[in-house]
Amino acid sequence: MNNIRQLMFCSFVGVLFATSGSVLWWSGLINMSFAAVGVGLCVAALITWLREPSQKNNEKSSVLGGAKAHQSMGFTQR
């Protein structure tokens, strides 16, 4: 996954489907297939995120870069 926004969207859809599907399933209104789609998306998004070291490294480096910039601007704690 190239884009953190894609991951966010997948997680959002997964959580939305899983929660609403579970509620409807518990209410006896629909079968569990809708919730299963949501759970599947959440799991797939999680696996994709865990398997994407470059993505996390990029984020980490950007965070460190941000911290360094923070320091260089004179906001270092003494």
Binding site: M1, R5, F9, C10, L41, A44
Partner: protein, 313 residues
């Protein structure tokens, strides 16, 4: 757990493909099944249209066209912002989702009929109306400058593709014919479910084979392909109930139409209008994910949505 028999044929088709059974669906049979389905839906709509040709139908038609315009306008920014997909491909995919799938509609009709839920039987007219606006919106979103020769080909694809021609032909024949039409109805009405089952068997084979084309942006496209049908169904259901005051079955069918995505008319039009777009990705999303999702998961939820809306007011 009970599953509709025609839906099981779709799963059966997918299993055939997954198990790599050495079987090719005969192309001539495939075309024949599609032809019978299109004409059957058209005839049914035409017969109903003869009895319901009122001004109210014009208002409903305008509302249905508006749905076809709005859905691509929602899909496009999602594809651009969250998916990071380029403008041309986003416009092409958005156009697919604004249009309709006759196959999904046929499955919905079969299920709603089996449940005995009443609906406005002239819905085939709305299927025809919903095919076109999304293509125009898709081209508008892509902001492509076009040549005159291409434009004429595009207009031909939009208005004279086999899907629209045969359904519209059936609609007109059904609307203007006399009682002699009853003599041909055993083929188009009596065999409808059987033909639909064979059609879904083929769709299952094709859908399973399309999934491998979702390598790039795969997870996002899958999430988008199940999210957009729900958005479309909510819009269709809301318009059907609150704006058009349709029956329960009508609301469910409008939700199904808005939730479905095209895999016949729009791909053909987009190949002409946006030749640089990745057509295999949009067809894989539409046929490989959205169609099975709607058939296996979506339609019962859209019917439930319609029932909840009908009971609320």
């Amino acid at each position: 757990m009970s599953i509709d028999a025609v839906v099981l044929f779709f799963i059966f088709g997918a299993v055939i493909r997954i198990l790599k059974v050495d079987f090719q669906f005969p192309e001539s049979l495939s075309r024949t099944l599609m032809l019978i389905l299109l004409i059957a839906i058209g005839l049914k709509g035409g017969i109903a249209l003869k009895e319901h040709a009122t001004f109210e139908l014009v208002i409903q038609g305008v509302a249905v066209i508006a749905i076809g315009v709005v859905i691509p306008l929602i899909a496009f920014p999602i594809l651009r912002f969250f998916g990071g997909i380029d403008t041309t491909n986003s416009a092409s995919i958005a156009a697919h989702y604004g249009s309709v799938s006759v196959g999904t509609f046929a499955v919905a009709i079969a299920i709603i009929d089996s449940l005995g839920i009443p609906y406005e039987s002239y819905f085939a007219l709305f299927v025809v109306l919903l095919e076109i606006p999304a293509i125009i919106v898709g081209i508008f979103l892509a902001q492509k400058r076009r040549e005159k020769g291409e434009l004429s080909t595009l207009i031909h694809e939009m208005f004279l593709n086999p899907g629209i021609v045969f359904m519209l032909g059936g609609l007109i024949i059904g609307a203007v014919s006399n009682d002699s039409i009853n003599s041909i109805m055993p083929l188009f009405k009596g065999l409808f479910s059987g033909v639909l089952a064979l059609f879904l068997l083929e769709m299952g084979i094709i859908a399973a084979s399309r999934l491998k084309e979702l390598k790039k942006n795969g997870l996002f496209i899958v999430a988008f392909s199940v999210f957009m049908p729900m958005v479309g169904a909510l819009i269709g259901g809301a318009v059907g109930h609150f704006v058009l005051s349709m029956s329960t079955g009508g609301v469910a069918l409008l939700a199904v139409l808005a939730a479905s995505s095209s895999y016949i008319a729009v791909p053909a039009a987009m190949r002409v209008a946006l030749p640089s777009a990745n057509h295999s990705m949009s067809i894989a999303a539409s046929l490989g994910v959205t169609f099975p999702f709607n058939v296996l998961v979506g339609i019962p939820i859209y019917i439930l949505l319609a029932q909840v809306l009908s009971q609320s007011l």
